[in-house]
Symmetry: D2
Subunit: 329 residues, 4 copies
């Protein structure tokens, strides 16, 4: 039985605690949050103890931590947890600074602790099937990857201001997905964007509509497009064109009902809420983490995947700023 | 070069004349219609001569006739054409009376003339593919056939009164489709129906909403449902459940456009007009007729298929009237 | 907080216990099963006490029972529970004998205890949406209902022998669905069937492929078809044709991935396992039961719905045996 | 009655002649081709006279010419036809050189003759519906356009060598579609590509897999991707994301049949052959041309649309060569 400490009892911490309730070989032993009420509520639901983050990290009976606190606390918590020999499940982004992620890589790899970066979409049944079938050779050589990702509605401008910008906050998921599906490292990035959804986002120095073109050394190409608003739900699609065929993950509708009338055939919008859309992914992600700990295998995506996506995001932001493509080392 | 005489220059005669313009080995040589204007108009379009039906049947240079006149004229025209040794393409129904169709079978088979009964739906790319794949063994043994057929809107009550009733006028197409897909003769029929679309149809002694259950000697079952009105287009579907799989022909949409909004995803209605929906079927039907004449092969469906469908329709009408299933000999 | 006793800790008892874990206002207080291991296992998962069914029914701190024991025990358990004033959630069928269900109705209604018959499919998001939109008038007057229901593979012949036959064991779900969607009582039933999937089923006196036609007093018609085997998953579809439009619930695919190659476009089979396919339905069903208890409202479908479906099943079995339609009183 | 002269009796000339046979107000009066047999064959089918291109252009009874000859002959034929006052329907590309197209614009506009550039896809029922609904305001402001266009298989390398390259030969259709759907001029182009399908295409100095990003002055963005090979048919899709919704044109399948088995649900590939896929578009294009001549309205897309697409293609080719985005004046 693995004892897990939940650091951060907000929305995402609760999701991970919920996933652990479906796993027989692990349990939530302790929870911590800066807000006492949040910690108490999650403790009541799970039967876990309320502790501080320091206490959890110091407790030798806790085998692993799940870090779901604000991004600016990740660095210190990862450092402390690695030193304490804890396995680490850290929400994305690992950190806003690639330099600091490099520092953490040294620490984490030095300590030899398992590390999972929380790119949950890799565990979505649809996207995971895409990758599995590419790996199985079903579509032959990967040539063109197309990723469309659109949020139901933009976050508040206050959030935008401290988000690091669309490429680091939103498209970073798609950069990781691109790496997952391209099966080769990205060497060049061109990105552009506009504030079309809300002028206030433009005034805050960010964009809400953006595209990127990624290329690999062998010439594979990935196109990504993002919008901060989609009236028809949470639009999450990917398709991969290969030498033997095309494989794509379509949206997940709210239900399977179709209504026919003189106006045609109408089916349900795409699921709106990311926690519903990716519910299965979050469960599979935690199962993977726990299974890896049990089997002594390194979880994937690891901390270096967190760095790689961050570096593409930095390059995309630079491309937007300069209007020029950016080469990655 | 086969010379074809078109008997009846109404809507369906024009369709068949149009199909012949796409066929190199046959042409419209002569046209006849009780209304002189109709005959003249079709003659102008095709370059054919205007003649009477008697003249066409008597003309030794005409190899085949296409009969698209009112049903009550079919008997005499078929009899005369068979005696004259003409190949015959006759619109369904061959005749409203099974007894008279039997009389025509004797004549037609005695004369040895090729005969095609105009069950156009067998030539629809969708339904033809169903039958071809069943014949190829793709779904194994046929077990359950489901046919849904609904018109965009009911005909005038005046038409209903002389139509022979829904089973002989509308569901007869589905009875032929059932025979086409069941791959075994129907031995028992249960049918029921109601006037739900328009009370005037009920007052005229007919139904506008009806179902039938057909069974074969080996226990295969076919369900058919009809409605005289579908707000979303001309609903024409069939599916066949077999031991190895299911195969179905879906509706044909007016276009391939999808519109997504907060109300969900909306696609086009089914094509409304039967001449548009079955345009490809009419062309393929005529190609089959001409190809059979050229190759000296009997066209299919033949006159006996016309009789078989009529007998099922008669049995269905009797089942509706009595409330009991009816056995076919 | 409502204390629930689970009678029967098999597959379905575990599902209902699992649903209760997601509900804040109710909990599993006690579990009982003829097999001690089954009871112990469920107790360990839920923190409930292990008791006998008699003890649970006698315990005044238990507010409601969930009956998931074999059908032949339902009668005694319902009688005892009703006498003890317990709210009752009973799996379908209530009993194999309509006469005995009538006896239970007198008892249950006499005792005034809430009663839910476990027709889970009414709570499926797809079918529930159909009914809600019919009730909202979206398709106008209901005219034709089509229900297709096919199991992934037949049960063992040993099960078939004691099942009461396809109509009482399998199609009973569809009879309840027909009543749910027709919005009017069924007055006449015609049914037929064959043993096409497995001759051993025929030798056991049952059919594995069957259809039924149900009619209502106003002339609405419902067609149902069943097969004990579908190679492509658990086929569960319904569509309702009305005066203003058509509404249908399509199958639920295993995932949202599509693969395109020279052979065309391939998407996932329908979900195979009924517990996965109806997972959301089981949760919603329990929520409805608990919510009704909390609000003092009668749950629906109630015990009379259990009787009504059973009577249609009896009539269908009689129709199959006699070859004739059967009128319901 | 408008008399049309067909210049070039190859595949595309035959298509346009066929379209004219469905139009009552115009007819093929004369045909010309460098290969006598081709001209004779088309003359036999249409009843037109065989003439030389010079004779057709000089004949005052011919009102319009349809130019379907090789691209390098367009300049001279357009110049001569404009001088002769003929209405002109010219296949794309107008010319490989933007400078020469500018010269032709001066001539054509000076002569005041109607001119249609043969971007047939604008007339496809799917893409035309997209544009019509954008124009009607259904999706609000256009923000992101995504165009995916993939040929069934690459042309011979010999063709590639004289094609002007993928951007001028293949993606030019998508550049025109982008202008059609963006509803604003393109000001900046970034393009990249690889030879992944066939190394021989790379050795010939061209790419077979390519993407482009187009931006407009107000910040609208269009992503295009092309491949010279798609195993699953002729992949032709476009979608437009706007402030009120998304609209997309899906592929057109070969038929409407679906096959279900343990491997899932399989539907037909996309139509493979461009003449079949765009048959309706070619007919609508000719109807538009003839209707414009009849009404005295300028056909659209005109010669300036031909120039605009060519300039984007030139910019894309330059972007590929330099690796940098290119601004359009």
């Amino acid at each position: 039985m693995l004892n897990i400490g939940i650091l951060g009892c907000g929305r995402i911490g609760q999701v991970h605690a919920g996933s652990l309730q479906h796993i027989d070989t692990a349990g939530v032993a302790a929870v911590a949050d800066a807000f006492e009420d949040a910690a108490n509520a999650l403790a009541a639901k799970t039967g876990a103890r309320v502790m501080t983050t320091d206490q959890i990290i110091a407790d030798p009976s806790i085998h692993a931590v799940v870090i779901g606190t604000p991004t600016n606390t990740h660095f210190d918590l990862i450092r402390a947890s690695a030193k304490a020999g804890k396995a680490i499940f850290c929400e994305k982004p690992v950190d806003m600074s690639a330099a600091r992620i490099r520092e953490l890589i040294t620490l984490v790899e030095g300590a030899g602790v398992p590390f999972l970066t929380g790119f949950n979409r890799r565990f979505d049944p649809g996207f995971a099937t895409l990758q599995a079938r590419i790996a199985a050779g079903d579509i032959g050589d990967v040539e063109l990857v197309t990723i469309l990702s659109r949020d139901p509605s933009p976050p508040p401008v206050s959030y935008i201001k401290s988000s690091g910008g669309l490429f680091r906050d939103m498209m970073i998921h798609d950069f990781d997905m691109a790496r997952f599906l391209l099966d080769e490292e990205v060497v060049r990035v061109f990105a552009t964007g506009s504030a079309l959804v809300d002028p206030a986002i433009g005034e805050a120095g960010d964009v809400d509509t953006a595209v990127a073109v990624l290329t690999t050394a062998s010439g594979r190409i990935c196109q990504i497009s993002n919008s901060r608003r989609a009236t028809y739900g949470y639009d999450q699609r990917a398709e991969v064109h290969g030498s033997l065929g095309l494989i794509k993950a379509n949206n997940v509708p709210e239900n399977n009902v179709e209504f026919a009338s003189g106006a045609g055939f109408r089916s349900a919008p795409a699921q709106h809420f990311f926690l519903e859309r990716y519910a299965a992914a979050y469960r599979a992600e935690m199962m993977h983490f726990i299974a890896c700990l049990g089997a002594g295998i390194a979880p994937s995506p690891g901390i270096r995947d967190g760095l790689a996506a961050q570096m593409i995001a930095d390059a995309a932001a630079q491309s937007l700023a300069t209007g020029m493509p950016v080469d990655l080392d």
